[in-house]
């Protein structure tokens, strides 16, 4: 299995506080990797390192190396804006722009100059909507505001928006925590389909979700990566006592 991304000795400090301590983690291509752990353990911080979103937080310092294919995205000559254009991100709360559905999805292609022609842009938007299975739901109201949709629909629009920039990696920060069980199921099914074309890293608080959808899981605890391996193994025979405690709900 080829690795799409590789983290080497990643350390993150917020001011004087260390948030992540020497993370080494391989992210294989076209798989779903679940990051699990208690709140404040650093899994979201790590996720935001993968597309340099931590650059936007003042007082946050990242050291170490993260490779996307063979390129270190923390090398001095790298423009973080170009990194983010190759890596899609979906957030905890659905956050569509207060624009039309079409303009939401077309936002990424437009700013990244993926295409100059309106027809191609329309194809991209339609393709993204097809991928998240929403074409039929919204094909008659592409010009209506995306903020009028339900929470689950909004989150799928956000996924479509991320897909529209044709990302190689998809980062998801607890994408279902604000959704009801039915919307959650739809998103999980969607992720399984998408994983054949995209490398997906998902942060989740739901152990069941991690077990259901991911091939590999990584357990974070107090800023350290405790254990990473096949999800089956992590959930049945974890090597580390702390992982077992967390999985079985004895702390956290």
């Amino acid at each position: 299995m080829q690795n799409k991304m590789t983290a080497r000795n990643v350390e993150v400090h917020y001011g004087d506080k260390m948030a992540l301590d020497g993370i080494n983690l391989d992210i294989p291509q076209h798989q779903i990797l679940a990051l699990i752990g208690a709140s404040g353990c650093g899994k979201s911080t790590f996720l935001r390192c993968l597309n340099r979103m931590n650059d936007e937080i003042s007082g946050c310092r990242v050291s170490g190396e993260i490779f996307l294919d063979d390129e270190n995205i923390y090398a001095p000559k790298i423009d973080p804006v170009l990194v983010r254009a190759r890596i899609g991100m979906v957030f905890q709360k659905p956050n569509p722009f207060p624009k039309s559905i079409f303009d939401n999805i077309a936002f990424g292609p437009r700013i990244n100059r993926i295409t100059e022609s309106e027809a191609e842009l329309r194809d991209i938007v339609h393709y993204a909507l097809e991928r998240v299975g929403m074409m039929d739901e919204v094909k008659d109201r592409l010009q209506e505001s995306a903020t009028g949709l339900s929470g689950g629909q909004q989150q799928r629009i956000c996924i479509a928006r991320a897909l529209a920039i044709a990302p190689e990696v998809l980062l998801m920060d607890e994408p279902c925590s604000a959704l009801d069980p039915i919307a959650t199921t739809r998103i999980e099914e969607l992720l399984e389909v998408l994983s054949s074309d995209y490398t997906i890293v998902i942060v989740t608080h739901s152990m069941h979700q991690a077990a259901r959808i991911s091939q590999r899981s990584a357990f974070f605890h107090l800023g350290e990566l405790i254990e990473v391996g096949a999800t089956d193994k992590i959930f049945t025979k974890p090597d580390d006592q702390r992982t077992e405690n967390y999985i079985t709900g004895r702390f956290g």
Binding site: V81, M89, F91, N95
Partner: protein, 458 residues
């Protein structure tokens, strides 16, 4: 007893009642083996409410109204006694009578002296009656509260209701004051419109409020068309806004999105100092520095610039409202949720793209609201224009010429010796109400717009 003694007496009585009622509840609760329904201090507070508030309100009402009522009564008597003297003499006689009663004046008029004695006597009587009434009211209600101070009375509800009502009164007081101000404006404005038709006032193109006092005086036609001064006001507000909006908005964007926190912590207070400068000082600046400066530049470019140009006043007013716009815009931009910024940046947008494509469109209604508030400030601003702008009402949109504004005219019409029944003075109230209606409209529009943005991200 005078007002302050009575008030002190009421306070002392209230304190006493507080202690007495608390003790009474505690004692009865002990003897009856019953827990009081409310905390002890509520019984005390209830006693204070009953003892102090009604008596004190009566005292206040008396202080406000007794002299008016008494004078009205004596005015009638004077009108009867001096039925043959003209009506406008009666008030003068009343004032004389009061002065005689106070011992400041002496008079040969026996009738008036008798009346003055009468007046002094009834004033003493009224004051004595007031003192007794206040004391009796306080004591009676204190006794009532004392009787009510029993453990099974749920006193907390009634205390809280009183508290609620007093908040309501405080809130409505501000509203009533506003209504009263508008009403007094309206009242005088209507008097003006009797003398001068409202249509001519609103659409007339000529403003020269000086009215001939003698029939043979020349050059004082007395025209009250407000269009030129409204145009002047809007011209100056427009100049101010076209300076303040770009600078204020850009500085708000820079502060909220790009500035290093250390720079922001230095810059925000500095801008707020700018907001704290008295407008009189801006007025100096406009009249003594900005106006000659613009004039000199104009001359070097071969342009004729008035020394009281709209440009100078508008530019200084613009400087004055920069902090206002920047601080309001900063609030509006910050109200756009972090998650929208993240979404844009996560899709590979640069900071500048994020600001122009996401932040500003999302904040747009709120920003327009902020600008409208600033416009209404600029229109109502007085001191800068009084000092830097002329009084001649030219109907022009050339910023290099001298114009006048509504506020300048109001100040001009109401300062100095004025007679409150000539159209010249009354026109100030008509201008005032026009100004009020314009700024009210702008504020309502601003409020509606900023509420729209608040709803979107509730």
């Amino acid at each position: 007893m005078d007002f302050s003694t009575l008030t002190l007496l009421l306070i002392a009585l209230s304190g006493l009642m507080y202690v007495l009622c608390c003790n009474r509840v505690r004692r009865t609760a002990q003897t009856l083996q019953q827990r009081p329904k409310s905390l002890l201090r509520y019984y005390g507070q209830n006693a204070v409410i009953w003892t102090f508030i009604p008596a004190f309100c009566f005292l206040l009402l008396f202080a406000f109204f007794h002299s008016i009522l008494l004078e009205q009564y004596y005015l009638h008597i004077i009108a009867d006694v001096y039925a043959d003297s003209p009506e406008n003499q009666h008030r003068l006689l009343l004032a004389q009578m009061k002065n005689i009663a106070a011992g400041i004046l002496s008079s040969e008029d026996v009738q008036l002296q008798n009346l003055a004695q009468d007046f002094a006597a009834s004033e003493t009587l009224v004051y004595r009656a007031r003192t007794w009434l206040v004391v009796l009211l306080a004591l009676g209600l204190a006794g009532f509260a004392y009787r009510k101070a029993v453990p099974h009375f749920r006193v907390r509800e009634s205390v809280e209701k009183t508290l609620q009502r007093s908040f309501l009164i405080a809130a409505s007081l501000a509203i009533f004051t506003t209504i009263a101000i508008v009403a007094s404006l309206l009242f005088e404005a209507v008097r003006f419109f009797y003398a001068y038709p409202i249509f001519d006032f609103l659409t007339g193109l000529h403003w020269s409020p000086n009215i001939a006092l003698h029939a043979d005086q020349v050059g004082s036609s007395g025209a009250f068309g407000m269009v030129p001064i409204l145009a002047g006001t809007l011209l100056i507000a427009l100049i101010a806004m076209s300076l303040a909006v770009p600078i204020g908005l850009c500085s708000a964007i820079y502060m909220s999105e790009f500035a290093h926190p250390r720079f922001r912590n230095f810059c925000k207070p500095t801008l707020e100092i700018l907001a704290g400068i008295p407008t009189v000082v801006y007025g100096f600046f406009a009249a003594l520095t900005a106006a000659p400066f613009f004039r000199k530049i104009g001359l070097s470019l071969g342009l004729e610039v008035s020394s009281e140009s709209a440009l100078a006043a508008g530019a200084v007013m613009g400087i004055m409202i920069i902090p206002f716009i920047s601080s309001l815009s900063d609030d509006v931009i910050r109200a756009v949720p972090r998650s929208l910024r993240d979404a844009a940046l996560g899709l590979g947008a640069t900071r500048a793209e994020m600001v122009t494509k996401v932040l500003l469109p999302a904040a747009f209604p709120g920003l327009v609201g902020a600008f409208l508030l600033a416009v209404s400030r600029a229109i109502g601003e007085t001191m800068i224009v009084v000092m830097a702008v002329g009084t001649a009402a030219n109907l022009t949109f050339n910023p290099l010429e001298s114009v006048t504004t509504v506020t300048v005219q109001i100040v001009g019409l109401l300062t100095g010796d004025t007679v409150f029944d000539s159209p010249k003075t009354l026109s100030a109230f008509a201008l005032g109400i026009t100004l009020f209606v314009i700024t009210l409209g702008l504020n309502i529009a601003a409020l509606a717009l900023s509420r729209r943005i608040a709803e979107r991200y509730e």
